[in-house]
């Protein structure tokens, strides 16, 4: 994995004023790998994502980001759409910012919206969309640039569980159509085990990866996967690793 990694954090430490430092973090992501990051709140999961996105610089250590031409998409905790713009304009934004002419960007935005099941809502404003739909638009926006690396920061945490499951199936389907690397931050153990090829557990104390668990089974998951003993075992293993990563007092 190390040789073929698309993105990598090597011995990365981040210091924020007045807080204990995060790291050192070592983390490699393969070109078509889905990695779930789990850990307590404040364990540095979002920091790891922002480092991988190049939105934040490490105090020490090296960040290896995808080469030019392999764009990075980012999905935030909230849909984070521009309320004054319709779905199409929101999705076309990253394309236009990277220099794609507006008419072409809009056509491609419509295609991506159709791919996430919102082909009929291209002119809807964010306030006219449900929480799940808004998140789909947000996902479409991240995918519009055909990223090589997709970073998702607890994207479905605010949604109900049915909507959340639907979105995860969509992610798997999109991944199967066009495999890409994904790093998915979550604090939901079952979601992590269902979604990813690999779950990395971060220490609650300093954000260091303390467990790296490969998950069995094919992606996308078969229909009854959540009832399979292999899946239940994997969930249990992740839960135990997460419990071990928590501070003693908790």
């Amino acid at each position: 994995m190390a040789e073929t990694a698309l993105a990598r954090l090597s011995g990365v430490v981040v210091r924020y004023p007045g807080r204990s430092p995060i790291g050192p973090i070592d983390l490699a992501v393969g070109p078509t790998e889905i990695v779930a990051l789990v850990g307590a709140s404040g364990a540095g999961k979002s920091t790891a994502l922002r480092l991988l996105a190049g939105l934040e610089a490490p105090t020490t250590g090296a960040v290896h980001r995808p080469a030019r031409g392999k764009a990075t998409g980012f999905v935030f905790q909230n849909p984070t759409l521009m309320p004054w713009a319709d779905a199409r304009t929101n999705v076309a934004l990253p394309l236009e910012l990277s220099g794609v002419p507006a008419p072409e960007a809009r056509t491609r935005a419509d295609e991506v919206l159709a791919a996430v099941g919102l082909g009929d809502r291209t002119t809807a404003r964010p306030r006219q969309l449900s929480g799940g739909m808004a998140m789909r638009v947000s996902l479409a926006r991240a995918l519009s640039i055909q990223p090589g690396l997709l970073l998702l920061d607890e994207p479905f945490a605010a949604l109900d569980s049915i909507t959340r499951r639907g979105l995860i199936e969509d992610l798997h389907r999109l991944w199967a159509d066009r495999p890409l690397a994904m790093v998915f931050v979550t604090h939901d153990v079952e979601e992590a085990a269902y979604l990813a090829h690999r779950v990395v557990v971060l220490s609650a104390a300093d954000g260091r990866p303390v467990a790296d668990l490969p998950l069995p089974g094919p992606l996308p998951r078969p229909g009854d996967w959540r009832r399979e003993p292999t899946f239940r075992d994997a969930v249990e293993a992740v839960a135990q690793a997460l419990a071990a990563a928590m501070p003693e007092a908790a």
Partner: protein, 253 residues
Amino acid sequence: MKRLTDALPALLLTALLLGAWEAACRLLDVPVYFLPPPSAVALALVENAPVLAGSAAQTFWMAFQALMVAIVIGGGLAVAVSLSRPAEQAVAPLAVALQVTPVVAIAPLVLIWAGLDHADRAVIALAAAVAFFPIFSGVLTGLKSADPDLERLFDLHGATRLQRLARLRLPSALPFALEGIRVAAGLSVVGAVVAEFVSGSGATQGLAWRLLEAGNRLRTAELLAALVCLAVLGLVLNAVTTALQRRALALRT
């Protein structure tokens, strides 16, 4: 219909106050130069309607021009300053200094600069100086109010300053700018009246001049009539800018 019921309490209170005023004047035999009854004020309003309307129009026109000047300078400066942190740090204290200096105090100076023959220019400049701050600070606050995650998204995709300004910060600033304009519209009338007062002696023919003139002649009913005009002017401006604000925000979201 709904609006009428909303306005009912205010109308009732106004009627009640006017009634009490009228009754007090009659029962207590208050001299008219001291406090004329509302009926006398109403009469003065009707008798002086053409003059008052002309003066109100002039005050409104000067306040309006001042507001436009304040929007262009205040908004433009806020946008320019938002592009550079040092520029903001340099300009902000000066803007506050302008805000806390009473307009009356700088009026004589501005009048000298404008020239006594051009008192109207001085009035516009002074009213604009008063209206400047709410627009400047509103737009500046608004430009910095964009969703931090959206700012990160613009970072991620390598947006230029201009792209960030046009596609993220200006739309985010719109509600703040409109609120600033609403406040500034009221202040521009205040500024215009104060400036007219200071320039004095009929150099301008706005409502302030009517107030001064009626006051000097102890024509208290005419003075109050001019005040009523001024209040109506302020209320109309407030209603117009509030409607503008609602309309623009409805289009935006």
